[in-house]
């Protein structure tokens, strides 16, 4: 592609509107383009410029309904284990049990401001679907969630939750019946109902303005991290560690340090770049790295570490794909990280050297799940367990802030089963049931 002139838009990584270097863009069917443009316009007006007090409204609701700020907890036992101070950013305490609500509430509220009358969203493990259903119930918006048939069957509690919040759940029967297919199907619904419908995408992926907008809604995480670090640590952390699936908790945890957060109303200085803070994006190493090109299968979801540039779901980014460009099935023990793409801004920040991509495998994540539960009394989501696991390899002096993007109640069955099958160190026995 021809060299493009880099224009600064105020954000550090958005080199021109909708682009992060060569990443990003708006690769969607024409039928959606006007909606995407309308949304980009609404994003600028409401989210960046606080038109009609939108951001004030969002900030108040995410505080009073969502429970922000989430605490920054000192992990005393882990700190002792590692010899450096570990702090946990507690997105597991956000309403719904994960960082997902920051984005879902932001987008559903924005859709209301835009006069939309219906919400659609995709979901994989069900976390984003649940958060969206929750926000829609709260804001009184009709809501339909697409979810692969396989996921519907293996994530029943989240399906229950969505239904209990009165969202329609539409099982997607094609393909492997997981996240990728759900996204495709939601795009199709949006293309059909684009005039009155807003598509609440679940991570910093998709066409512009989604990656920037989702980042901004999630940037409340790092905005708080900075303030809390100042108050509790007396300094900025040496490093921030977050898991990366699509990358929304990741960008949420990094944005203020990168200097790319643009949500209106941030405390002074909190959106200035903080180049001394190391930013570590922990991907799912699955069972091993690389892509089986012949089989079109990747036993991991490490698109930042091992993916190649390509176009998927509306944006140019790093992808797990065959040499020909077919998207492969990714794999991780953690459903929420199991995605072949990643947010374009992260891809850019990795190329620029600002974010370091690392990964831990399934077993290490399971061990970390048990370690945090046992030593700190916090059951992390399997996604977040990847970030926690990376502490075992971290070599700095701290303090380190780990983003605990969600709670692991949803993962209990999987963890118990997988821990037994893999003989994971530190997993408790469950013989209490043997009677």
């Amino acid at each position: 592609m021809s060299e493009e002139s880099k224009r600064t838009t105020g954000a550090q990584s958005e080199t021109r509107a909708g682009k992060f270097g060569e990443y990003g863009g708006q690769y969607v069917p024409e039928v959606l383009m006007p909606a995407v443009e309308e949304l980009a316009d609404a994003y600028e007006r409401y989210v960046l410029d606080n038109e009609d007090g939108f951001v004030d409204d969002f900030r108040q609701r995410i505080r009073e309904f969502g429970g922000r700020p989430t605490p920054l907890s000192h992990a005393e036992n882990l700190s002792e284990r590692y010899g450096f101070d570990v702090y946990l950013k507690r997105e597991d305490l956000l309403h719904g049990g994960a960082h997902k609500l920051n984005n879902a509430l932001g987008q559903v509220l924005l859709a209301k401001y835009m006069g939309k009358e219906r919400i659609v969203a995709e979901t994989g493990a069900g976390q984003h679907g649940t958060a969206t259903a929750m926000a829609c119930a709260y804001l009184d918006m009709p809501c339909e969630i697409y979810m692969g048939r396989t996921d519907v069957n293996r994530q029943r509690p989240n399906v229950f939750r969505m239904r209990i919040h009165d969202a329609e759940v539409n099982p997607v029967d094609v393909g492997s019946g997981t996240l990728k297919e759900a996204i495709n199907e939601t795009m199709r619904d949006w293309a059909t109902n684009v005039e009155d419908t807003h598509y609440v995408i679940g991570s910093v992926v998709g066409p512009h303005p989604f990656p920037a907008m989702v980042r901004d809604f999630q940037s409340v995480i790092s905005e708080e991290m900075r303030e809390q670090s100042r108050d509790q640590l007396g300094q900025l952390p040496e490093a921030v560690v977050a898991c990366a699936g699509g990358g929304s908790n990741t960008m949420g945890a990094f944005a203020s340090f990168v200097g790319s957060a643009r949500l209106a109303g941030a405390p002074e200085g909190s959106q200035e770049p903080a180049p001394d803070v190391d930013l570590l994006a922990v991907e799912a190493g699955g069972s091993s790295l690389g892509v089986d090109k012949a089989e079109g299968y990747a036993p991991n979801s490490a698109s930042l570490s091992t993916g190649t540039e390509g176009v998927l779901h509306g944006a140019r980014t790093k992808l797990l794909q065959t040499e020909e460009g077919q998207i492969v099935e990714s794999h991780s023990v953690s459903a929420g990280l199991d995605y072949a793409g990643v947010g374009p801004e992260l891809a850019y920040l990795v190329d620029e050297g600002r974010v370091e991509p690392v990964n831990v495998d399934d077993d290490a994540a399971l061990e970390a799940f048990h370690r945090l539960s046992r030593e700190e009394g916090i059951i992390p989501a399997l996604e977040s367990s990847h970030a926690v696991a990376y502490l075992e390899e971290y070599e700095g002096d701290g303090p380190v802030v780990v983003n605990v993007s969600g709670r692991g109640d949803k993962d209990l069955d999987t963890v118990i089963e997988e821990s037994a099958a893999r003989d994971i160190a530190g997993a408790p026995t469950m013989e209490v049931f043997e009677e």
Binding site: M1, S2, G25, Q26, Y27, V28, P29, E30, V31, L32, M33, P34, A35, E37, V174, G175, K180, N184, M187, R188, A191, T192, N193, V194, E195, G296, T308, E309, G310, V311, L312, H313, G314, L319, Q321, E323, E324, G325, Q326, I327
Partner: protein, 276 residues
């Protein structure tokens, strides 16, 4: 062929643009089906290169793509198939941008466009490449004398329409309704309106998304279209063949018959004096 040939295909009365997915259910079958469609009166073949994430397609074509991928269709095999086709109508490659972008040693559309031109492709339809992102693809097509065909949707704004028409050669793909591909029983009410706002464009206008019968083709042409684009209706026949294990020939015959019906219907849509 050169891009004038796609356009030229519309010179001779309303054109029938026929889509099938390459490799569904095999490259050999596709060859026979395409030839049958041309025998039935197809003026432009739109040959799908299957991509794993076909977001613009309805269930019918999604399933076709799945069958084609499972049968091993690849970009290389696609180009071989194109080279192999024995038809004298222009062939448009319909695919998603990532396959074009990945082809060859260097990222970018250049290499695939060159290879496609070499194999005998006359133009491209890339549903996930809106005009805003089309610059490199457009340049590559221009360099190799290929048409880059844009889809105009019911939602397309006047400004967007203008920038599309600026780059349009070959024909304009008029999306007849919101949503994705898929055969419907009725022509969208919005078709006349969609065509009306294109009346000043000096390229042919072909309407697609949902057309499945001669009667619908007639209606569309009567509304002012220069051509009709049909895909899912053919794919339904192919799917039926796969399901019932029908001989390739029988499926080909049915495709030819549908093409003939569509073509005849399209002609009937012309005002009497213009019919040939």
């Amino acid at each position: 062929m050169t891009r004038s040939e796609i356009r030229a295909a519309f010179d001779d009365g309303p054109a029938l643009v026929s889509y099938v997915a390459a490799g569904d259910p095999s490259a050999d079958a596709t060859k026979e089906y395409v030839e049958a469609l041309v025998d039935g009166g197809t003026d432009v073949v739109e040959l799908g290169l299957p991509f794993s994430e076909p977001v613009a397609e309805g269930t019918t074509i999604q399933n076709a793509i799945k069958r084609a991928l499972e049968a091993g269709m690849t970009p290389e095999a696609y180009l071989d198939l194109v080279r192999d086709l024995d038809v004298d109508v222009p062939i448009v490659c319909m695919t998603y941008y990532n396959l074009i972008y990945q082809y060859g040693d260097e990222a970018g559309p250049e290499e695939f466009v060159a290879a496609a031109a070499d194999a005998g492709i006359s133009g491209f339809v890339v549903p996930d490449l809106p005009v805003n992102e089309s610059e490199p693809m457009y340049e590559a097509c221009r360099e190799h004398g290929l048409d880059l065909i844009f889809i105009v949707a019911p939602t397309t704004t006047p400004e967007r329409l203008e920038s599309m028409l600026d780059r349009t050669t070959g024909f304009v793909y008029v999306q007849g309704r919101l949503g994705t591909t898929g055969a419907r029983d009725e022509v969208s009410e919005n078709t006349p309106e969609a065509l009306e706002r294109l009346q000043d464009a000096n390229v042919p206008k072909a309407v697609g998304f949902g057309i499945s019968s001669g009667e619908q083709a007639r209606e569309v042409v009567a509304s002012g279209a220069d051509g009709v684009i049909v895909g899912s209706a053919y794919v339904d026949i192919i799917a039926d063949g796969v399901e019932n294990d029908l001989p390739t020939e029988e499926v080909a015959d049915r495709l030819e018959a549908l093409a003939a019906e569509l073509k005849a219907g399209a002609r009937k849509g012309l005002p009497e004096p213009e019919r040939k």
